[in-house]
Point group: C2
Chain length 252, copies 2
DNA sequence: GAGTGGTCTAGACCACCTC
DNA sequence: AGGTGGTCTAGACCACTCG
């Protein structure tokens, strides 16, 4: 008779380890507390250090652990809820600099303008609770600002940050029809990783926002949020205070 | 792909490898094409297989590669845009089953009802282009449906799927005030991973949706989307087509 | 059976931090 | 100096897929 053996295969050691460690940090450790070091844990569980690290990698991806070189591995704080919308974001984002240059092919295609068109790219960072949680490149074709009077402060050369503020102020005067967003998983490359104070390869949530004005694409923002510390929130804020602290698994 | 030199420098080998491989799959390989196997690549680049795998891990996390045991490593197709909203989702989700049980502490807390309250949990999967891209647990406290007449089809016992459809139909008749969403990174555990046809530990985008009716939380949905293949889209759909990406070719 | 990716080991050295 | 996590090696065996 057909004996269907589905669970005949034992689960990998690193996955079992993850489960054990997850229970441990949920019950025996407090946020911010340092857990035993990797060499001790691997000895205690009787596995190679690489195997233990595989389990820690998982928990770090889930935002449950933070590893600090030279320090140790800490239990992570719950993720911060970060509202994603143009409202009430004014204070959250800090302009860093701005470059104005002809658009490369790829960027021009994404903006729907001819290659070589002049585009302002504003770089901003978002700081939440004293920590940089996101960086953004906001691309604004110069033609989008044609109707908006230019802002001239002085004859002196503007710093990058001043240029950024000038572009943002002009953009604010545009009446926007709406926004369209996409969210996907990515990794931070060198420059972004540095701004986020994380090593290259750090997982990030990439939010692409299209701003429409006059039925056309007026600007494009590419924001990258630290996936380990951020929970992006959308829609009516403060609808219900309830927050599912941990992912809710079915209670069968 | 060419045998590139590894610059002996500050950045880790695996990160440099990732860059080299990324350029290669962008320029020399088509979607769906199998790249050389790990042992050959590690030999060609003069690194240990584990190091090469670290680079492939990154590219897989970015959704650029797909690894299939026994087959090889393939260049992934661009991510699918998946609209996230209650509109036009009717067809996308397929009910699987439904369990009705008293809420455990954690779930009750998330729903804002007393522990032990009767809660319907509808399990659904979302199929896009023939592939399961998401699973969802939709939690509906029975008290939310009090005002909606129960649907009685027969005296016979209903299958899980029939129960699910019944709950969904009743839920549809509620007038909703709005929805509030959060998106964060997670990993799929055993059951979810199986539904998504992926191994445990697979990165997923977890979307938590709160449905409000009458100023109260009427239902809570926890949806997990495959992070490797999905790009979640919000807001006005079809505003402008987003997708800078790279030239897409397909292997025959 | 041959080839693939997945897991695991037991080391080694490095970069970073604190004392 | 001593401890931590980060990187890297050179193997080994396993699970899966295919011809």
């Amino acid at each position: 008779m057909g004996t269907a053996q589905l669970a005949a295969v034992p689960e990998p050691k690193y996955w079992h380890l993850r489960t054990v460690l997850l229970r441990a940090i949920d019950s025996e450790f407090a946020t911010g507390q340092v857990i035993p070091n990797e060499r001790e844990l691997s000895a205690r569980f009787g596995v190679a250090r690489a195997t233990l690290r595989q389990a820690l990698d998982q928990l770090e991806l889930e935002g449950r652990l933070v590893r600090r070189r030279g320090i140790g591995t800490l239990v992570a704080a719950p993720r911060v809820g970060v509202p994603v919308s143009r409202r009430e974001e004014g204070e959250a984002w800090q302009p860093v600099d701005c470059v104005t240059a002809p658009a490369a092919d790829k960027l021009a295609g994404a903006l729907g303008v001819p290659a070589g068109e002049l585009v302002h790219t504003v770089r901003r960072v978002r700081v939440e609770q004293g920590q940089t949680v996101a960086t953004e490149s906001l691309h604004v074709p110069d033609r989008s600002l044609e109707q908006v009077p230019e802002i001239r402060l002085s004859g002196a050369a503007l710093t990058g940050e001043e240029q950024a503020r000038a572009v943002l102020r002009r953009l604010e005067r545009l009446t926007m029809d709406g926004e369209s967003r996409a969210v996907e998983l990515g990794v931070a490359e060198a420059e972004e990783a540095a701004l986020l104070q994380r090593p290259p390869g750090t997982p990030v949530l990439v939010v692409t926002t299209q701003f429409a004005a006059g039925g056309r694409l007026a600007a494009l923002a590419v924001s990258t949020y630290r996936a380990d510390t951020c929970r992006l929130t959308f829609g009516e804020t403060g609808l219900v205070e309830v927050r599912p602290a941990a992912p809710v698994r079915t209670a069968s």
